[in-house]
């Protein structure tokens, strides 16, 4: 045996042993990753509002949650951070871009209403409380009801209600915003969606508890208790539907109500408002009894193919991410278009660029139709003004005003909704199309009055 060969064998064996050890250690580490999904370092109770405390037990989820401060827009949604000079009245140094500046037609449509003063694009969950606190809409005396969705409210409600959630909810609704604002500290926090004992999802918002009960009752299911009856997958949408919905403040006690007692589609919601005789405000220029739609994401999503296929809000907006051997849902809640690999490609096996192009095609079409509908509403408004100036009676204007009420609620339902039609593309275009129809019919009803008068250019 040559000495050289022996040395070679020794060298090869040494390298092989080293590699084996490295591999062994790697496998060992990977096996360790799969154990101990979480370490309980603090005790969480039904009173723990502060997300920092929850973050000690769930650092990875907390890390994602903190990142909702990020501001990054997609083509049609979200907003880049707009730097502003902080003042005593408004200490924010960054805000979202103004929607009113982007589309001046909105000011015409909302004439006389708080939203014509300050209305901004959307940004992350982390900003919800400060943005509601410092919006210029506050000069219109907002009620404490707003905090239902702008703060971590579960514990403050229970404290205010002496342990009873609904009593606290009712008491908070009756307070002024400024008064109620003193009782809350955090924007949405862990406890608003999670049971501190089991981490299971749960609904804590009275508005949704009552809204979904009314919706289920309209479907023939009596006394629906969402926290008892909903499946885990349903809860992954319902916790979001606690706030991303159409709502109104019912009666002088400003009770937050989701208008779902006749169903969740727009014509059912509209029929509900008609029956309730509800009006948000009287249009300053036409005298029409107007409605404002509010971010009806849950409603529009429910009419789309993703809902029908059993895809929950969290599947796309909080997709699972791998962290070592663990899979956690990404608590950096954001547009799926900023996270296509995790959000879309789990089901749709196409390149990211293709998926983005598909989504933007839907949004572009919706956006164009929404703009046409907005033109129609604005032209109806100018026709009503014209007839009114010429001395038309309330009776003569009635049909046109009803058309304005309905068409602007319909177009707002698509415009205020946060997906630019993506949540249910055909439904969105149907609604925008109907908005155009209502507005043009309203104009037709004024034809005998406005005949021969020089109107705005058509």
């Amino acid at each position: 045996m040559s000495k050289r060969l022996v040395v070679m064998v020794a060298l090869v064996a040494a390298v092989a042993a080293a590699l084996s050890t490295a591999l062994l250690v790697n496998i060992f580490e990977r096996k360790q990753e799969a154990r101990n999904p979480f370490y309980r370092v603090v005790e969480l109770t039904d009173e723990t509002v502060d997300p920092v405390v929850w973050g000690k037990n769930f650092p990875q989820q907390y890390d994602g949650y903190l990142r909702t401060v990020d501001q990054q827009r997609t083509r049609y949604g979200g907003s880049e951070a707009l730097p502003v000079t902080p003042s005593e009245a408004d200490p924010r140094s960054f805000v979202a871009q103004s929607k009113l500046a982007d589309d001046p037609r909105l000011k015409v449509i909302w004439a006389g209403y708080a939203f014509s003063v300050d209305y901004r694009k959307k940004r992350g969950h982390a900003h919800m409380l400060e943005d509601q606190t410092y919006t210029e809409r506050q000069q219109f005396k907002q009620p404490g009801t707003c905090l239902h969705c702008h703060a971590s409210i579960y514990v403050p409600y229970k404290k205010l209600g002496g342990g009873d959630l609904i009593e606290g909810f009712e008491a908070m609704n009756r307070k002024s915003f400024q008064e109620a604002r003193q009782l809350v500290t955090h924007p949405i926090s862990c406890i608003d969606c999670h049971d501190p004992e089991t981490m299971a999802l749960r609904v804590t918002r009275p508005g949704f508890l009552e809204g979904i009960r009314a919706l289920k009752a309209s479907q023939g299911i009596a006394d629906y208790d969402v926290n008892q009856a909903a499946t885990r997958q349903e809860m992954r949408s319902y916790v979001c539907g606690q706030c991303h919905v159409e709502y109104y403040f019912k009666g002088p006690e400003k009770r937050l109500t989701y208008p779902w007692a006749k169903g969740i589609k727009i014509e059912q919601i509209y029929a509900y408002y008609e029956e309730a005789g509800f009006t948000d405000w009287t249009h300053a220029e036409t005298g029409a009894p107007a409605l404002k739609a509010q971010h009806p994401e849950f409603e529009l999503w429910s009419q789309g193919i993703h809902a029908r296929s059993g895809v929950a809000c969290a599947d796309c907006h909080m997709p699972y991410v791998r962290s070592g051997a663990l899979k956690i849902s990404d608590h950096h809640v954001r547009s799926p278009l900023l996270n296509i690999a995790n959000a879309c490609q789990t089901c749709h096996k196409w390149p990211e660029a293709e998926l983005l192009a598909r989504a933007e095609t839907i949004q572009e079409r919706t956006f164009k139709l929404r703009s046409l509908a907005m033109d129609a509403v604005v032209e109806l408004i100018s026709d009503i003004k014209l007839a009114k100036a010429a001395g038309a009676s309330d009776e003569q204007l009635e049909e046109a005003r009803q058309a304005q009420r309905r068409s602007q609620f319909y177009v707002d339902f698509i415009d205020a909704e946060n997906s630019t039609g993506f949540h249910a593309p055909q439904e969105a275009t149907r609604i925008a199309g109907e908005a155009i129809d209502f507005a043009r019919r309203g104009q037709l009803s004024l034809r005998p009055l406005n005949a021969g008068k020089p109107g705005k250019a058509r």
Binding site: A13, E234, G310
Partner: protein, 163 residues
């Protein structure tokens, strides 16, 4: 002479240690399980846990396991595919360099596609009679539409469907 003998002994010891260490690593990593048909082997490392869980709930679980759809039926093809996949997967998993969510590669997709057609020959015979031989744009793919039969199950919410 004695010196050379000593070196040989050291080399042999090292070689033995390397072999022993390698062998232990193989056992510790449940290396033998990869030679079997047991679907649990595919979820040995946690990356495919979700696919394994999905398969347990799928329509195919009682008639086909992982290897029935993801390896060719013949002995050589099967073990070649296992070796090729095994090497690629372990390299990816060890280095952590892989696409999330995991995606099937074209070769393995073709293997699965053939497996569908093998078992369901009677059903698909008429459908594929006129298709071109090579996999191009006009290629009819079973799993493009039936992607969830093996795994990937979504739990339907039937809340809004009725209305």
């Amino acid at each position: 002479m004695i010196k050379a003998h000593r070196v040989a002994v050291v080399a042999a010891a090292l070689a033995g240690a390397a072999f022993g260490l390698g062998g232990y690593t193989f056992l510790y990593a449940r290396g033998w399980s990869y030679l079997t048909n047991d679907p649990r082997a595919c979820a040995n490392c946690h990356v495919m846990q979700e696919q394994y869980a999905g398969w347990l709930k799928s329509s195919h679980r009682s008639v086909a396991a992982c290897n029935d759809c993801h390896t060719p039926p013949d002995f050589l093809g099967k073990y070649f595919t296992k070796a090729e996949n095994g090497f690629r997967h372990s390299l990816a998993f060890t280095t952590g360099d892989f696409h999330e969510p995991i995606q099937i590669v074209p070769r393995d997709r073709a293997v699965t596609e053939r497996a569908c057609r093998h078992c369901h020959a009677e059903v698909v015979q008429a459908m594929v009679a006129h298709e071109s031989r090579r996999e191009g744009r006009d290629f009819v793919s079973c799993i493009r539409c039936h992607g969830s039969v093996g795994h990937l199950e979504l739990q339907a919410t039937d809340v809004f469907v009725a209305r």
